[in-house]
Subunit: 640 residues, 2 copies
């Protein structure tokens, strides 16, 4: 009896070591300067390949710097208040405007304000002119032969103006590197194709296209190639011919990148296969016919990180420019981070500034979670050989967004509801400078975040079993030493979400005990979980009888998604989520979804805007269209 | 007897006041949201007009997260080391790769590493699978209905990937504002036209085009319009129809902008004419048919500042985005700055970090000096009602370049030579991260800058009259308390520069006394001025006898330019400059042009690279081609 084997021999070398091996081998072909000539009109942001020296002077001639008269300086000598001097037109003076050329015999300008008119042909002056006064000399701005910009300079609008003034119409620039992008995988379809089960939309290579443009290259995206050794080899050979850099994106299968590595071995040199970085481990670095080739794993986050780590540097090196300096900032970790000892890990972070403290909260670490990149404000690297980082530790974070926008962000941590997206959009749409970021950790998690000073507001829906009152009792209990308020939010319907037409005929919480019913749960500490446990207790149902009780999701939408996709028959959640997913909904009860807040933040301008949005007509219209909500006095503040 | 009058009634209102008046009137037309739909493929850097909600979930189905076998979880229960369980292919398991869909009846995945092969149809497992283990649930990344980006968000490559995953192919974005650019002036020619005396190349409007692109608009540049009221009016009306914002650039005549203001008065509303800012005072702000129109003065620096102040803000407001935050830094002023009380003045600054101190040196303040913008590292504003700022005061500077590149700049202050441009280029071409910036204040000025700690190196050519030794004696005298070295540079020929074929038959310094010969001088403190004064003294020539002795230029090239343009017959300067300008040259003597340096800077990596360049083969080849230079041991260091 033998184990099945797959021949995936990945190395685990460190990023810097991999870079050294890779760039040592391909530096030569990158460094050969490739130039092209472009019109100065089209040279914005291009990199000069040679120094640019002015061909003509600017101004091109001696020009009047004033409106007035041009005179011959030595004919004005002796003029003063008591001995004004009269000058004859054409012989001794001519009228001149700013910018007009000074021609012989004239060699000075007198401002029009200092000239008295005697008659049509005569003027009188009361001050002598010194030679070349009020004359802008030829070459004052740019002297022919002067260097305007050096080589390897990124052309700005001002440089363009100066080059044109200096008589330069064409300029030699570094060619933009062409980057060929080959998506592979039999399951990969174009974004415009119809999606079906088993298919994956090729979004990575379109993201790569945009990244190549951002970094100054010219992308060429090929159509997805199915998993066929010969077809992929053929396409790589074509791409190597047509481009300076080639990127091969594997599909989602772990064995997939084997094709790329084997092909590179056959037709070129496989330099590295496997880098000690997470996500991104199966990265491939090679050289085919002197051109760098990078094999990139299929999961979107891995794809992004491998592209950023290797391809971005290639594109910059090719252009002979250095990468912009990364901005780092220190923040306090709000959630324990465990990591493997075996690799460097990149963790996407959400940042927020609460009471002057920069709080960093790790986002979903899955390699497939694109949204963790969309939402990320920064990235933290956990070095190899570090097991983890504890809550409250200070960590260094590479900024992906500017600090100003992070400082203008309302940090919301707590329960999930669709309206958090709506509110985030409404406030940003009305006040472009304000952002609202939501982390979904459940109501109790949100209350704890408030306690630790990590959030401005916390959306909660916590039922006090004794009094039947929502939220206030829990805040009194958990935050008794804090000055807390509650901003009233919405009333919303909770209920059972089941497949369209309710095939399992589920009608109440009692059905969760049924042998043929699979449930999907919410995480501990969420208001919905508390509601479920309360209902089960009320009905004396043992939760071990509920199949799927241990499978936890963190949002209403992922619960709805589980029901829709068939991994569960039923879940507890809000009506708007059921509606959004086209599920049937069996109401269980109404609850109050409000915003707990540390009272001092009520003075914060961002929070004032937030409350204004809650009270707005647009918000109530939007709730109407979502369904499942009621409002009474949204934005009303209750001091606790 | 009456004074001539021109009807230029300029107001002098402050920038913020002008903005308030202007934006109050045109805000309405800017704020009406103009949208267009673009393909997500083309949406990079566009501004979303609406929030984008995912239409489909990603992944679109429950997918295997591992390579292995898909199983039915409840058929695996009970399996352990002692009681392995055997499964039958197709009925109880199927092989599955990462990314493959999990279909009924299967509901879990076992990694291939944990599967033992019994025969072709049977596998054995030693651990039970829990439901949905190693399954990536539908919607794990993006759940249908989830907001991917809010409105007024600038689309990034990652957003593009996420939108495609979420089934979004088209997106509503804010239309890019169209900016019509009308150059006016009878003397204005297109850059590709032949330049002649009296003509001015239209570089401003091409610079504006590049600025519009940089800020996110679409420029439309019209051909230059001659100074004709009706023609300009017609073009403005056309441009208002075809664009969202219109910019009219006046030629260089001070009266020119009157056309624009009068036309705006006739066909729209003239809001402001004249702003208390220098350069840029004659700015015009108006409104024609609800479209903002900005009249911009002709001098390039004025043009740049007025565009930056008003048009940039218009383009950003139109897109509903805020301008990136300006970066400010504090520096020490190295040169006294006088200013008028009447307006806010923008002064372009060269910055350098010397011994940890940020030194700010004002560049040429002329409104026409484009090169002051090309060279500027920052801009300082001198407020209205401030008379000036003294040397050594701390000033606030808006950064135009990144601090890293300023920190990697060798600051050279001293004498001028063409080789400073050559060296600046050579070092930047070889070491992209290093820059060399040269200020030309003459040899003695350079020595003083070293003394004040404002420069790393100072190029000098100072003859000691007694010993005939260059440079060393002066350094001993002026910098006796400093630890100073001299880096040997080049020997160069000084001489008289005269027009081609020497029409005035000038043959020696003695000719400067002639009645028919006009001289052009260098500034006090320059080595060349010291050389001239030494020669005059030697020959007993009274400098009051030298016509043009008081007219001072600060570089060899501007002296050469004065001779070429005919404002002087002769000047003293170096052979390479005469050669560059096509002038004849009468040698006077050879001198030594070296680099004084504070000894501790010899340890600086930048300086080591600089010395390496001086010693390089390329440098000597370059000197050969310039002519007029000799080298003996360039880069040799003499401790003083």
């Amino acid at each position: 009896m033998k184990k099945t084997k797959r021949n995936i021999y990945l190395s685990n070398i460190e990023v810097n070591e991999a870079k050294k091996l890779f760039f040592n081998e391909i530096n030569k072909s990158i460094k050969d300067k490739k130039e092209e000539t472009v019109s100065v009109y089209d040279s914005l942001n291009r990199i000069s390949a040679k120094p640019i020296f002015a061909e003509i002077s600017s101004p091109y001639f001696n020009a009047s710097a004033m409106d007035g008269i041009a005179v011959i300086s030595n004919k004005t000598y002796g003029a003063d208040e008591r001995n004004p001097k009269r000058l004859k037109i054409n012989e001794e003076y001519i009228y001149i405007d700013t910018g007009d050329p000074i021609k012989e015999p004239f060699d000075a300008v007198i401002m029009i304000e200092d000239v008295a008119l005697v008659d049509d042909e005569t003027v009188e002056i009361i001050k002598a002119a010194s030679p070349w006064q009020h004359v802008r000399p030829m070459g004052e701005d740019i002297v022919a032969g002067e260097m305007i910009i050096p080589a390897y300079h990124k052309v700005t609008p001002v440089d363009i103006g100066a080059m044109l003034c200096g008589g330069i119409l064409d300029i030699d620039v570094i060619k933009k590197p062409r980057v060929g992008i080959i998506p592979t995988g039999t399951e990969i379809i174009e974004p415009e194709d119809n999606i079906e089960v088993g298919k994956i939309i090729d979004s990575n290579s379109v993201m790569f296209e945009a990244m190549v443009k951002t970094y100054g290259g010219i992308p060429k995206r090929y159509k997805p190639i199915p998993d066929d050794y010969e077809l992929i080899k053929e396409k790589i050979l074509q791409a190597v011919k047509e481009n300076d850099i080639v990127v091969v994106n594997a599909g989602s299968s772990a064995g997939r990148e084997d094709y790329t590595s084997k092909i590179i071995k056959e037709i070129g040199n496989l330099i590295v296969h496997g880098v000690a970085v997470k996500p991104g481990k199966p990265a491939i670095l090679g050289n085919v016919e002197g051109k760098p080739i990078v094999g990139i794993p299929g999961y979107p986050v891995s794809a992004y990180i491998v592209f950023e780590t290797f391809v971005k540097e290639l594109i910059y090196k090719y252009q002979g420019i250095k990468q912009e300096k990364k901005q780092f900032i220190k923040g306090t970790l709000s959630k324990r981070l465990m990591s493997s000892l075996k690799h460097l890990e990149y963790v996407r972070m959400k940042l927020g500034k609460v009471s002057g403290k920069l709080v960093a909260t790790p986002l979903n670490r899955g390699a497939g979670v694109t949204m963790s990149l969309v939402k990320a404000d920064g990235i933290t690297k956990i070095p190899k050989n570090v097991e983890g980082i504890e809550v409250g530790e200070t960590i260094e974070i590479e900024l992906l967004k500017d600090m100003e926008s992070i400082e203008n962000t309302i940090v919301s941590i707590g329960s999930h509801d669709l309206i958090m997206d709506i509110l985030a959009n409404m406030i940003h749409e009305r006040y472009h400078e304000i952002n609202l970021s939501s982390a979904h950790v459940g109501s109790l998690g949100g209350v704890m975040a408030l306690k630790r000073g990590e959030a401005h507001i916390s959306p909660i829906h916590l039922l006090d079993e004794k009094t039947g009152i929502y939220n206030i009792e829990h805040l009194k209990k958990y935050l008794k030493n804090k000055n807390i308020s509650l901003i009233k939010g919405v009333k919303r319907l909770q209920g059972l979400m089941v497949k369209k037409n309710n095939p399992k005929k589920i009608s109440s919480i009692n059905d969760l005990e049924r042998e043929d019913v699979v449930f999907v749960n919410r995480q501990k500490g969420s208001g919905t979980r508390i509601l479920l446990d309360f209902k089960l207790k009320e009905l004396n149902i043992d939760n071990s009888k509920v199949k799927g009780y241990d499978r936890e999701m963190t949002t209403h939408m992922t619960v709805a998604s589980a029901v829709l996709s068939g991994t569960a028959d039923v879940g507890l959640g809000i009506q708007s989520s059921a509606k959004a997913m086209g599920l049937d909904f069996i109401p269980i009860g109404e609850e109050e979804y409000d915003f707990a807040i540390i009272s001092e933040f009520l003075e914060d301008e961002k929070i004032k805007r937030f409350i204004e949005i809650l009270k707005s007509k647009e918000f109530s219209v939007m709730l109407e269209s979502l369904g499942g909500y009621k409002i009474e006095e949204p934005g009303r503040i209750i001091n606790i």
